[in-house]
Each structure stands twice: as C-alpha cells, then as structure tokens.
Amino acid sequence: MSVIHPTNGIMYGMVIDLDKCTGCGACSVACMTENNIYVLKDESDKTRSITWMRLYQVENGKAFPETESVIIPRPCMQCGQPACVPVCPATATTKDEIGGIVSQITVRCIGCRYCVAACPYHARTFNWFDPWPLYKNHVEQMAGALNPDVPPRMRGVVEKCSFCHHRLMAAKARVYTETEVKNPREKYHMSEIQAVPEEYYQTACAEACPAEAITFGDLNNPGHRVHQLLKERKADAFRLLEKLGTEPRVYYLSSRRWVRKQADNYLNSPEKTVG
C-alpha cells in the first residue's frame, strides 16, 4: 500500500458482460446467501419476492430460426442521480459521498414505499412478510447459517442491493491494519478516504459468477478491470434507461445490437420489441 488515492473520485460500479452470461443464477443465489435474504413461503409470487439480483430473460421476438434470447442480471443500478434518494421522507436512504453506493438504512425505514414507486428498475423490494419465523428455523436447523456481517431485515421495510457494502467495510478495515503509518490519527484518516485494492472488495455476485460475466470495481480507477473493460469495449457498452437521466453505475456489454436496443424505449421505433 504505497500509493494512496484520494477517494473523492471513487465511483463503484459494475460491468456485466451479457455475451458471457449463461443465466445460471449463481449471482442471485450468492447474493441471497451473502445478504441474509429470506425466502417467501410462496416464492412463485414474484411481485412480492425479495431479490436484490434479479434475472430477466428477454427474447428478440422473432420466429424460430432467428429466435435469440438474453439474460439480463439486474442488481441495484446505484444511480449517480438516484430517483429513490431525494424522495425518502425519513432520510432512510442516502448516496454515499465516497464511492457513491446508494445505502438503505433499514432500521430507519418507515416503509412508506415512495422509493419503490420512484425507482424504474424495480431494484427496491418491500418486506411484505415477517421473516422472523424463518430466521427462527434457521437458528434451530441450520445454526449459524446467517451471515453475521449483514443485519437481517424486519417486516415492513424496504431493502435493496448494497453492492455488498459490508465487504467494503471489511476491506477498509483490512487496509487499516496493513497500513504502516506512525501517527495513529493519520492512519485512521487514510483508511477512511483511501481507495481499497480491487481484490479486497468484490461483491458476492461478481465472485460467484462462473462465467466471469460480472466485473466489479472503481469505474474511475484506470487500474481497475471495470474501467479497462469499458474502454476496450466501448461500442458494446450500454446502461438501462439512460434517457431518464438516472446515471446508472451498472454497465452492460453486448455485441448484439438488438440486446443493446432493449435497454431503453425508442419512440415509434419498429425495432422495439417487448419480451
């Protein structure tokens, strides 16, 4: 840790290569385990299921020989201009000044669901059910199955993907212990503002992806893979609903034009297909 980056410019983001994604769902499963997301009694009701990393299967709408499909994994976009943050009446969701992660303070959330209504990506889900009976079962049957780093949520609050923020905390702590500075105050200050190395902080979904379709890191750091990927494959990169001005921090890569077209609405465009 010789080079210390000022963290003002840190912008955590994700690049998902849709050409590589096989739709196996490992990212989603890893996310649920990592973040103590509970399973509904009836998971067939997808309108109430809690999924931070959701997979959309989209087809090109053409008949057999030309039929193609793509899987679009959708975490929280951690928008640069989040629609959800300014609307929260109780300041239960904020955008981190360092790193730009959109946080959800579930113990402060009153459950008004205004943020759920404001988010166009359906990245926010509400706890319609009481997860407690399930946790009780966990304790009895699968003692210690819950991840101690992530607080479980209660009924009646909104939750969302946090880019595994607890892992960022752990990475910062690691940097702190590894940094050799004489003045302890200076040391603390540095660990707070300095960038963490790419390998110290990876989200659960990025780690779990067997196809290595998900890359995570600091979009502004030329040393990070996400930054390089976006540069290398500029022509293939797109974001969801860019026209709305939310400035998502999750980029997708696809070499197929029709897939890139799925990302946004195009007025009176004949190519627009709904899958």
């Binding site: 609307v87 239960a92 209504a117 319609w128 969801l240 939310t246 609405n265 007025l267």
Partner: protein
C-alpha cells in the same frame, strides 16, 4: 325531556332518538369492518393487502389523495369568508370545517396503516429529509389537522348544553374572534400540502407517466393539484350539503352561499382544466418524449385505456366547468348537483390515474404489465373512512348548530 333532546340545538327539528340510533348502525358497521382490516394489517403486516413491489401504492393512497383534495373545501371556504370577506359563506362554513376535519383525520390514520412500520411514523419528523415532497406533506397535514381541530372546537362548544358552561361559552366566542388567523394559517398550509401531494408524483423523474416539467423545485403537478383541490373541495361541500338537505327534507344552507361557492369553484375548475390540458400536451412532448415514449405507450387496453384521459378531461372536466359557469344551470339544483358530482369524480379519477396508472406502466422495455385489484382488507379500511365521515356528520348535525341559518330558512 330526556338528555338527548336537551342536547339538540334550540328550535330545530330532529328525528327521534331511536331513529337516530338506527341511522348510525350502517356507519358503525363500516367502521367496525374497517377496524378488522386495520387490526389484520397491524398484526400480520401489509401482506394483507393486494399491493406488491410493482404497486407500492394502492387503493389507500388513492383514497388519501382523494379525501385530502375533497377536504380542501374547509380551508378555501374559510379563506373566502375570513380573508376575502364573503359573509354569505357563514351559512356553510361549519359544514366545510367538519368535512375538512373528517377528511384530514381519516387521511392521517390511513397513512399510518399504510406504512410498513407504523411505530416509526415519527421518524419523518425526527429524521426529516427536506428534499422529499412526502416530508412536506406529512408536516403540513399534521399541522393543518391541528388547525382543523381548533376550528372544530368552537362548533362543538356551541352545543346547547356545553354552551351553558360559562368558560366554554367564552372560549368558543374568543376562538371565533381570532378565527381569521387560523383561516390564514390553514390557507397557507393547505396551498403547500395540496401542492406537495401533486409534487410527489411530478418529481418522480424516472417514472415518465408522472414526471412533469420543473419550475425550480416544483413540478407542474404542484400547481395543478392546488387548483384542482380548490375547485373540487367546495363542490364536495356543496354535494354533502345537498345530500343533507335531501335526507332531512328541509333547507339548511342559504342559496347565496351555494351560488358563491359554485360560481368560484366553476371559474377555478375552468382555469384548472385549461392548464391541465396544456400540461398534458407539455408532458407528451416533454418528459414522455424524452423518455422515448409516446402517448399510446402509456395507456393499455381495458381499465387502463386512453378513455381515462378523455373521461377525466372531458366528461368530468370541461363539461362541469361549462355547467358551473352558466348562471341558469348553476341555480338549478339538479344541474348544480350533477356538475358537482362530475367535478369531484373527475378529481378522484385524476388522483387514481396519478397513483395507479403511474405504477402500472412498466418503464423497463422488457418489464411486464401487472394488474392490481385491492384486497377486501384494503376496501374495508377505505370504506371505514365513509363510515367515519357519516358518523361524525350525523352526530354533528344532530347535536351541534352546524347550520346557523337552518332556523330562519325553515321558519
């Protein structure tokens, strides 16, 4: 003479105690039904509703927005009477205040049931986010509800029996003397929360159906909601007054008071509809087009079809605006009632569209269209508002001098 008869205002005719008790039963039934729904929601959580992550808001928010708009008659009548000085409105102000009180108190209770963690409701005040329209709404309706209680207290204290207590008599009298201050405060607060309720939807820039052009921090819906509320509020007050007159088979409100309200509501409605049409066009060629969507993309078949737009702006907008602005039509009870009914329905429809249709339309191109039908628990709590209103109005009508001109009009 029993106690019940002693409580009835002097010189007016009221039904027998038994009859009155029987008329309360349906209202109490609705309230009880709502109570069951509320207990289920508090006890088991919001899975008792039919809402989901697509329909984060549902019937309750539609009802909230609707009753708050219809309750606007209280502040606007107060404004016209105490600030502008339209003295003829004394004939209807008490009813307007009571309706306002019912609407706002019901809205606050419904909001409390609607949030997932009711015990944390006060976090809005403690951790207030000043950028949120909902924070502004919460602050304003809480304070305005207090104003409405202050306005309601003197009416209660004027009950024949209560007014015999010297202290009550003078307290009520003194409150009346300073009522213009509360009318002014109420007007100020109402302008802001009615606007912020509209603003809540206009600021959702990532929801193209609701997003509206901004004027500094205010979207156009801010102004439209104020205008529609002050047009629909007096109409609703007139409707309830007419309903009470029909049920009681007597005159309760002076014709001048009704005409003043109808006249002003008609002019405001015309202005509102004019701006609403401009706003709709500005929205189609502004935020909607920028989001890559055309008008046809927003309205689907069936209950979410384009007919909603024409019904709201035409039949329930332009038509009553014309009716209310023709003096001859306004003076005819039937036409007046029809116009008021259309106006209030139009505003309720507008609130429904802003809430439900906004959420129904998928924004992601590959997202599904999902329908929503409220559960019986949601209906129970919403209908309880009607039961609650019926109960408060019944009790007030029987025991309080709500209509100061009733005696003179039926002499």
């Amino acid at each position: 003479m029993n106690l019940d008869a002693k409580l009835i205002p002097d010189g007016v005719q009221r039904t027998s105690t038994l009859n009155f008790g029987l008329t309360l039963l349906p209202w109490l039934g609705l309230l009880g039904f709502g109570l069951i729904g509320a207990l289920l929601c508090f006890g088991l959580g919001l899975n008792q509703t039919a809402m989901n992550d697509y329909f984060a808001f549902g019937l309750w928010i539609v009802f909230d927005l609707a009753v708050i708009a219809l309750g606007a008659g209280a502040f606007f009548t107060g404004f016209l009477l105490y600030i502008i000085g339209r003295k003829e409105l004394k004939s209807i102000i008490n009813l307007a205040v009571i309706i306002g009180f019912i609407c706002y108190s019901a809205a606050v209770v419904m909001l409390l049931i609607d949030i997932g963690q009711p015990l944390r409701g006060w976090f809005i005040f403690w951790h207030a986010n000043v950028h949120s329209m909902l924070t502004e709404v919460s602050f304003c309706i809480t304070v305005y509800l207090m104003v409405l209680i202050i306005e309601y207290i003197p009416i209660i204290l004027e009950n024949r029996k209560l007014n015999q207590v010297r202290e009550f008599h003078f307290f009520a009298h003194n409150l009346h003397e300073v009522m213009f201050i509360f009318a002014a405060v109420g007007t100020f607060l109402s302008f802001f929360h009615q606007g912020s309720l509209g603003g809540m939807f206009g600021v959702m820039f990532a929801r193209p159906f609701a997003a509206r052009p901004m004027f500094f921090i205010w979207p156009t819906t801010f102004a439209l909601f104020i205008m529609s509320a002050i047009a629909a509020g007096p109409c609703f007050t007139l409707l309830i007054a007419t309903l009470l007159e029909k049920i009681g088979r007597k005159k309760l409100v002076r014709a001048e008071a009704k005409q003043t309200l109808a006249n002003i509501a008609g002019k405001l409605l015309a202005v509102y509809i004019f701006f609403k049409i401009i706003d709709t066009i500005a929205w189609i060629y502004g935020p909607a087009q920028n989001a890559g969507l055309a008008l046809g993309d927003f309205y689907r078949d069936g209950p979410y079809g384009q007919w909603l737009l024409f019904l709201e702006l035409g039949l329930m907008g332009i038509l009553p605006a014309i009716l209310l602005n023709i003096p001859a039509a306004r003076r005819n009870t039937l036409w007046l009632t029809l116009a008021c009914l259309l106006t209030t329905s139009g505003i309720v429809l507008n609130r429904f569209v802003m809430v439900v249709v906004t959420l129904a339309i998928p924004v992601l191109p590959f997202e599904q269209f999902i329908g929503y039908l409220p559960s019986w628990q949601e209906w129970a709590i919403s209908l309880a508002v009607i039961g609650y209103g019926g109960l408060i109005i019944s009790l007030s009508y029987r025991y309080l001098p709500v209509f100061p001109d009733e005696k003179a009009l039926n002499a």
